[in-house]
Symmetry: C2
Subunit: 599 residues, 2 copies
């Protein structure tokens, strides 16, 4: 690179420019992100802590806009009822015991006997022998370590037998003699345990979606992929509750009305194809996913189509989106079928940004078991059904003969006893023991009656789309990054995702009367826009060219410039980021012009 | 209450209505909140955990709207540069050691020797002897417990001597052999440790505000005030960095331009007045707070005025807002002056919803000390100053004579040594010890030079306004709660805070052709509004009267009804929550009409 060296001596600005040609998008973004307030590693002044990031004003604004788009695409504009809630991060142990996380949410670790460093065993093996080992048992991993004589990559020391490490952040509720708790690793459980509350609020109707956006903690062993593998991050999740007997009909009714969603094209790599060694995706429409049984429940196809559309609309090209089905050993403990939604990144290749899991009745069932609460849905029959039902009543005189002085307490216990249980005890054993008194069938009257049953309690099934916000932020940034022919950065973010809607500049700043007028007019415009809830980036430093560059770098789609003509005739120029075109409009038209681009 | 009993037999609906008369606003709200999805205690199916709440779709939407109003009033529309950031909740121990929280963020606890229950000692004493004891030492509290023979309120057992309990939630980063960490008790520290990053992004200009909105954890001993004292909650904070030498001039310049802010009226109870036993507030304008030295820095007055306006605009009447200065023993360890902003509540009386602290240089100074990072601001002089400066250089030949074979390492150490430090060592002691070699003054050349100094490094001062979101949610709800003359609930929320902008109803629902048309038109209107990013509450269940009641109960300000006339001439009625008036408008005008109320 002789030319570069030569140029770098000549001109500092050029030197930055030419270097850009040699940098990956990742490197350009990481540099831009720190310099312009998008993101950077947290706790830098204390040496940093892996897995934690800070977000600056630009990054946070883009994040919040992605959240709003997610709300629009997955809550407000869907064809079903979705209610968004917010539940705590700190979670009592029982909840994550019931959900299975305390037992299953682990990764295998191995420790160097010599230097004490701790590694994620499966990753270490994968790096050493270049083979996927996800889902193998501790014994199997240990065997591989032995066979291949895998050692500490830092000091060459011997490794210990892998053991599971719990990835939940532990804490205690109460500052003294507290009770055990964890930080939630997903927002989902807050929705499952509130299912009945939300069902009431939704006036007992299925299907019902419950959504939540919020922080979660996953105590990763040694996260090394920057923004793409964090220990604390934001998740956008939706638990969709439905009656599986009705799901085909319900989804077909929706797709009948929404042709564009029915024909949404998704790139799919099935578990079957993976097992056959295929790596290429097949394209299916939503309806094909259902009709060809690629998905095990039609609602999976519905939400995958919605998620596909969502990513497309925030700027990810369709050829960089794919859905990969997980193999049985790769799935989480609660899932019957899982598709990862992946986006192609320059640095890491295909990378998971969302997951779609068919959690069936798993979570509700577990919480019913652990809490004894009724988390069922009363499914009303179209017509009440006539059902034969046995009724049972004791004959007190005969009971008294058998129970003797225990008669009052035995009668009390009998009256409080579940009648179904009493019947089945008598039927199975021929007697029942109450207060240590053995009572045969004879002292009971049993009669069969026909009763009308209006419905039955069912545990709804659940499909869950779940999105990692920071990963989406990264792929949106990478896909919006453009380097112009004159080597400038332009973030061509979709308008709705851009950190500010518009930039406002006075053309020249100074103390001459016309310049003061320019500044005052520009500030007035800024104030009016802000009071109309339009987000504004105001900048009066340096040449107008440099200010356009600064606005382009963080993806501001529109720029209003107040110039000499403005203070004469109340017109301004508006510049469009993507075309660099400018046109002159009257001040009274600014708001309308801006808003027309955010429809 | 004979009449009530009589009525309750007659009619279930009436019975609810009449009961409302006897209920406090708090009770009405708590009932409404659970029933309509505003908030409810978390983890109910597992018996609940004190200090944690869930928020339903209505509560969450109101919360998010309050956040947006806060952003508008404290970030976007202020007269200074404020940048919002987002930093992690999980915080390495060193950060909260440096901030002083690990040492000072405690409450005194006492334990019952007989039943083992744990209490907050100061609260227990306050309840027992009805006297404020905040800020007293453990010894002093112990003395009072003894003197008044205060015992366990549950079992009458003896109490232990009070000891401090740390209110930080503890955790560890890394699932195995992790490092100690806490959940942040405030978002502030994430802003302090990022001061230099944000100063760079703001191109090195003061004053500079850094804002953050996010979850925090405070491991309270036994929180008992529902939504008003949570262990996990959302804070909206702003750290405002400035040069104290310029603050008077800067604030006066702003108030010169913003007369309405200059004349904002604040109800104040000063520490001085409190000490004199006064309980009534005095009203001051912003400028009076500064000119009469009620605040120790003018920026305190600026932010208090902004915060006063913010609360007024989200529906708190001015006579229910006051600022109470904390006494020296009540202030946090970092604060030179603190005002609590309190709102009057029916249930708890005056209750703190925000605090304004003059944190001076405390936090930056501590982080400089602990991290050794440079968190200063380079304050450029208007003109460079000529300063006499001593320069020092060693005479190698003489050093060699003294250091002997240690000469190379001594010279290296000398070259790396801070020259100011070297000079002061020699000046104070007459010698310096390098690598165990004692070197007198003689082997050094010292000369005095005149140099131009362009500025100096200063540690900016900080004023912090900090708001508790859930408390604000509660006071907004309480103040918006109205019971109509016909005993119905109407939440008269300010439009911008309302959970949905508009309700849409088909007048009659059924299967007749005209009813199907009505439903289809209503759904079409809903879809168009949603695609225009207007939040819609759609409801087709029950009579139109009941649906208006349901919309009023959660404070939806506008309701569009599609009726028989609509399907003939494309007009609809729009109903206004606060007046119950209705008017007929054309479908094409709906969006404009709605938006005109959200200006």
């Amino acid at each position: 690179m002789k030319i570069n060296k030569f140029l770098s001596i000549m001109c500092f600005e050029w030197c930055i420019v030419v270097e850009r040609n040699n940098k990956s998008k990742y490197e350009i973004l990481v540099d831009l992100a720190k310099r312009r307030g998008i993101f950077w590693p947290a706790y830098e002044i204390y040496g940093g802590v892996a897995g934690f990031y800070d977000f600056g004003p630009v990054g946070l604004s883009i994040k919040n806009n992605i959240i709003n788009e997610w709300r629009y695409h997955l809550i407000h504009s869907v064809d079903v009822n979705v209610l968004e809630i917010e539940t705590p991060i700190i979670t009592p142990r029982i909840v994550l015991k019931a959900s299975g996380h305390e037992d299953h949410f682990t990764d295998p670790i191995t420790e160097c006997k010599s230097c004490g460093r701790v590694y994620r065993a499966d990753h270490l093996i994968e790096e050493a022998i270049n083979k996927k080992v996800e889902g193998l048992s501790m014994e199997e991993l240990w065997k591989i370590i032995h066979e291949h004589n895998i050692r500490c990559p830092e000091c060459g020391g011997e490794l210990t037998k892998p053991k599971p490490a719990l990835l939940l952040f532990k804490t205690e509720i109460g500052p003294y003699k507290g009770t055990k708790a964890y930080l939630r690793p997903e927002t989902a459980q807050g929705m499952f345990i509130n299912f009945k509350n939300l069902l009431n609020i939704a006036r007992n109707k299925l299907p019902l979606g419950i959504a939540q956006i919020g922080r979660v903690g996953r105590n990763e062993i040694s996260p090394r992929q920057g923004l793409l593998r964090l220990r604390e991050f934001t998740i956008m999740e939706l638990e969709f509750f439905f009656d599986p007997e009705k799901s085909y009909e319900e989804v077909m009714n929706i797709l009948e009305k929404r042709k564009e969603l029915r024909n949404e094209r998704l790139n799919i790599l099935t578990a079957k194809d993976k097992l056959e060694g295929k790596e290429e995706t097949q394209t299916y429409t939503t309806i094909e996913l259902i009709e060809e049984n690629i998905v095990t429940n039609p609602w999976m196809a519905y939400w995958m189509a919605i998620g596909n559309k969502f990513l497309r609309e925030i700027g990810i090209p369709i050829n960089k989106i794919r859905f990969v089905e997980k193999l049985p050993e790769e799935k989480a403990h609660y899932s019957e079928q899982t598709f990862d939604q992946e986006v192609f990144t320059e640095k890491y290749g295909w990378f998971e940004v969302a997951g779609y899991s068919y959690r069936t009745t798993y979570d509700l069932r577990r919480h019913i078991e652990y809490s004894k609460a009724d988390l069922t849905f009363f499914k009303r029959y179209e017509k009440p059904k006539k059902v034969k039902k046995k009724k049972i009543a004791p004959n007190p005189a005969k009971i008294k003969e058998i129970a003797g002085e225990k008669f009052p307490s035995v009668m009390k216990a009998l009256s409080e006893m579940d009648k179904e249980h009493l019947l089945s005890e008598l039927e199975n054993n021929g007697y029942v023991i109450i207060q240590d008194v053995k009572i045969p069938e004879s002292p009971f009257y049993v009669k069969e009656e026909e009763v009308l049953v209006h419905g039955e309690k069912i545990i709804p099934h659940v499909v869950e789309p779940s999105f990692g916000l920071e990963r989406i932020l990264y792929v949106v940034l990478e896909n919006s990054l453009h380097i112009t022919s004159d080597q400038k950065i332009v973030l061509k973010l979709p308008y709705r995702v851009a950190p500010y809607m518009v930039a406002v500049f006075p053309l020249v700043t100074g103390t001459k009367p016309e310049h003061v007028k320019m500044i005052n007019l520009a500030k007035k415009i800024k104030e009016i826009l802000i009071s109309n809830r339009i987000t504004v980036y105001y900048d009066e430093e340096g040449s107008i060219g440099k200010r356009y560059v600064r606005a382009d770098e963080i993806g501001i789609p529109l720029a209003i410039t107040v110039d000499y003509q403005s203070i004469e005739d109340n017109t301004v120029t508006i510049r469009y980021r993507d075309t660099r075109e400018q046109k002159r409009i009257h001040i009274g038209e600014i708001i309308k012009e801006i808003l027309s681009h955010f429809k």
